[in-house]
Amino acid sequence: MTNHTAPVSPVSHHRHITRNSCDCKMNFSEVFKQTNQLCKVSPDGKYLATCVQYRLVVRDVSTLQILQLYTCLDQVSHMEWSSDSLFILCAMYNRGLVQVWSLEQPDWHCKIDEGSIGLVSSRWSPDGRHILNTTEFHLRVTVWSLCTKAVSYIKYPKACQKGIDFSRDGRYMALAERRDCKDYVCVFVCDDWHLLRHFETETQDLAGLEWSPNGCVLAVWDSCLEYKVLLYSLDGRLLSTYSAYEWSLGVKSVSWSPSSQFLAIGSYDEKVRILNHITWKKITQFEHPAIIDNTKATVYKEAEKRPGVGSDEMPLHNITMGATLFNTQSKYEICPLPVQIPVVKPDPDRASPKIGISVLAFSSDSRYLATKNDNMATAVWVWDMQKMSLEAVLEQTSAVRCFQWDPLRPRLALCAGNTKLYLWSPGGCVSVQVPTEGGFQVQSLNWHCSGDSLILLGKEQLCLCYMDTDQEDK
């Protein structure tokens, strides 16, 4: 278990600079290795931790110099920063081990062995001093304290889509429990793990729970066999129940708006329903039709540009045919209405069909909501919450893999599994080629907490994109 302080890597990594039509200078770093899509920025935004096989590499975000290098006992399955950015948790599920590393004291070590009971998930508590391990088969949740080495157990945790959620201020934890074929919710005080409330929920098969950003309301939803969303107050009272329809497959995704004013529910019937926080009734629903007509929204369609004869990149990539295919430039065109979005009908016999709203994301100012309908996988829909109407539709050439809002501005970054990065803002839409050799395909992305840079993750690679956003607004 050796920990090195890393040697200095070359500073000149800001190689590729592109200026795009958004008038925002984008600066791409060189490509680094990572495994398992484990690449996270610390909560204070200063460090970037990546896992490469069994190594944990910590870099400085702006210079990308390696600051620390830790070696774990096995390939890391999950990695997480503590809330104070001082510690990193590395979990190895097949070995049932969790290792914790300290940034300030590289010599400090901590190893948690779950023994024969196995490990299925591991996470930090909000105070950064406790680790919650979920054992195999969801037999129990073990709470390890790094301050006292004490252990607590939580029995009968439910194995579902989202069984544990911490409130945003880090004071309370809600945990779904399944006991005697009935669903319960346990509310713990994270301070001392005291069980504050324990109440039964009116669900058939609880699928997930989520605190509202203000920490006062807990949204609980049923599995897709029944459309039911329950809203509980912090002290366990049932505030409201919402059920849009019966029998057909129900809720697929749920998201709170950052202001806690709206609760967006995406369902298998390709609609998003918005509930308001005062009456908990539906105020509007957003539909995702295959033919878009009669709307004031802008439809951006990605069109491939033919590779120019005299472009700079050509000489380098003429060697491999594949690279030229991957490196075609593209741009957005505004399509006149009506527009038809390509639909892929899912197999009706399979469970969890690829239909319905699977991803919902609110922008940080709660102004916009981005949605993705699974049977129109190439389209991302952006809705304006002030006007309660469709704002824009982005149609890509390949299926959208991931999209995320800028933590500070109403700017959406998305990727579609190709070598391009797409950005949408109310002023317009831009497609940026990630300038790396060898065709780096962007599978997922994460914004830095300051909104100044993006971490692009490929299959086994990662790349950072720094943005100099001058005060522009087209």
Binding site: D107, D113, D127, F137, S248, L249, I278
Partner: protein, 542 residues
């Protein structure tokens, strides 16, 4: 025939007319029948006997012959036995009579037949008419039946359609439900399989553990314990702690509720303000119109009364006092609704009156429209005039530019000339300035020279004076005066004044006067000024 009868004067009028009546109108069947079918009655006998009398036998005979000829019985001619005799030849008469009887019988037969025919025909006609009407009735009936059947057919068709659509919807719903059932079934089976797999894994693990028995204890291995994130010490878990947790939870809930309530109250107040403003504006819009325009209809007066009532009832102060009172709120919303209704009616009325022909209102509205139109016309005319004016001016300008090319060049040349003059003037001015400067300089030099010259002249005069003095003194026996021959312009006078005694005084006096005579003039001429330069030059011939 008639003419012939008029010659007969012996006939009585009545009999002639009746006979002529009989012969003129053979179609009078009744008369004929009555004439021929019955035995001659007395009246008819009298008529026939009236035809022929003793007197007119030959006329009657000729007449009858004519008639028989006209009937086509040419052969039998009735003759008199002898002319002038009252008897007739019987054979032709009887033949004639027989033929006439035959004719008569034939015609009777014809008549009978015709009558029979006619009867038959009339009966058939009747029959046909009856059947016609019957058929018509039947036709009408069948048409009505047909339309009735059409109607029922249409209704049945409609029913079929609705039933078909119902069937379709039902089928769709059934299909949808089937698909739902299918998806639910697949989801259930998927979940069940997942649970089964998990159970199998559990069983395996359990069996493995039971066999294995070497239980790896769970343990944590930390180098050193960490401090708490917030740096505080760890608290004991006490009931006080739990109750404080409860308190904290309720506090946070309460604060959240308070915050939302505050924002809602603010919103509420805003909306109330907006409503009140709206109400005021609506009242304002409605009220000034009422007395000025339309003739007071009952409706309007009613509205006026309503408005007044409204103004009294909806007191602003009262409303502001109980703002949160349910009653006040209802009152506000009701009054808003009322006002809105009034406004809407008003607008509707305006719309309808815009198209109506009511003189009073149309006048009120047409007059402004008329004046508006007039204004528009006037403005249009003005615009047109201005345009024409501009156009004319442009044309003139164009003309000016086009027609007189010489003028243009002349103007251009003029321009050039003036420019040239200007340039020249500038040049001359510059020269003048230069000369002036030079002049100044020279003058300065001159004055300086003059001053110098003056000084030199003075010096020279003094020298001369001293030299003269010396000469004079040298001419005199007073030799010791040679010592004082140093010439000073100034000292000459002082020497003469102070040092020369006795006779020297006289000499010095002469000298002094000499000097005085010369010097003042010199001094005089040393005055500055342009004019004196010349005079100085004049004084100083050296």
């Amino acid at each position: 025939m008639g003419e012939w009868w008029t010659t007969e004067t012996s006939m009585e009028n009545y009999e002639i007319s009746s006979i002529s009546h009989v012969t003129m109108s053979p179609s009078r069947r009744n008369n004929l029948v009555s004439m021929y079918s019955f035995p001659l009655s007395k009246s008819s006998y009298s008529v026939i006997s009236a035809f022929c009398t003793e007197d007119n036998i030959p006329q009657c005979i000729s007449y009858i012959n004519q008639e028989l000829a006209s009937l086509g019985l040419s052969s039998t001619c009735i003759e008199a036995i002898s002319p002038g005799d009252t008897g007739l030849s019987t054979v032709p008469a009887l033949n004639a009579m027989y033929e006439l009887l035959q004719i008569h019988r034939r015609s009777m037969c014809n008549l009978e037949e015709l009558e029979r025919e006619q009867l038959r025909k009339s009966s058939t006609l009747e029959h046909i008419q009856m059947s016609n009407t019957r058929l018509k009735d039947q036709l009408e009936l069948s048409i009505r039946e047909k339309s009735g059947l059409h109607e029922t057919e249409r209704q049945l068709q409609l029913k079929i359609k609705t039933l078909q659509s119902c069937l379709k919807t039902e089928k769709d719903e059934v299909q949808k439900l089937q698909s739902v059932i299918a998806s639910r079934a697949s989801q259930y089976s998927h979940d069940a399989k997942r649970k089964e797999r998990e159970a199998v894994k559990l069983k395996e693990r359990l069996s493995q553990l039971l066999i294995d028995r070497k239980d790896k204890k769970l343990a944590i291995d930390v180098l050193n314990c960490l401090g708490r994130a917030d740096g505080k010490r760890r608290h004991w878990k006490t009931t006080k702690a739990t109750s404080s947790h409860e308190d904290e939870m309720y506090k946070s809930l309460l604060s959240d509720y308070e915050a939302s309530q505050r924002s809602l109250m603010l919103e509420n107040a805003e909306l109330k303000k907006v409503l009140q403003q709206m109400k005021k504006e609506m009242m304002h819009i409605l009220s000034p119109r009422q007395p000025s325009t339309r003739g007071a209809t009952a409706d309007d007066s009613q509205e006026q009364a309503d408005l007044d009532g409204e103004a009294k009832g909806g007191d602003a102060s009262r409303e502001s006092l109980d703002q949160y009172c349910e009653h006040a709120r209802e009152q506000l919303t009701n009054s808003i609704r009322q006002q809105w209704r009034k406004l809407r009616n008003h607008v509707e009325r305006l719309d309808s009156q815009g198209t109506s022909q009511n003189q009073l209102e149309s006048n009120k509205e047409v007059i402004p429209r008329e004046t508006h139109e007039d204004e528009m016309e006037r403005m249009r005319c003005e615009v047109q005039q201005c345009r024409e004016f501009i156009h004319a001016q442009q044309q003139l300008l164009q003309q000016q530019l086009n027609t007189s090319f010489d003028d243009e060049t002349a103007a251009l040349l003029n321009d050039c000339y003036t420019l040239e003059e200007k340039e020249r003037l500038k040049e001359e001015w510059r020269l003048f300035e230069e000369q002036k400067r030079n002049f100044e300089r020279e003058r300065k030099n001159f004055t300086e020279a003059a001053i110098r010259l003056g000084r030199e002249k003075k010096a020279f005069e003094e020298d001369r004076a001293s030299w003269l003095k010396n000469q004079f003194l040298n001419m005199t026996p007073f030799t010791h005066r040679r010592r004082y021959s140093s010439s000073d312009g100034q000292s000459a006078l002082s020497i003469s004044n102070g040092k020369i005694p006795g006779l020297a005084c006289f000499q010095t006096k002469i000298l002094a006067t000499l000097c005085m005579n010369i010097l003042p003039r010199q001094f005089l001429s040393l005055r500055f000024g342009n004019t004196e330069v010349a005079s100085f030059a004049y004084l100083h011939p050296l």
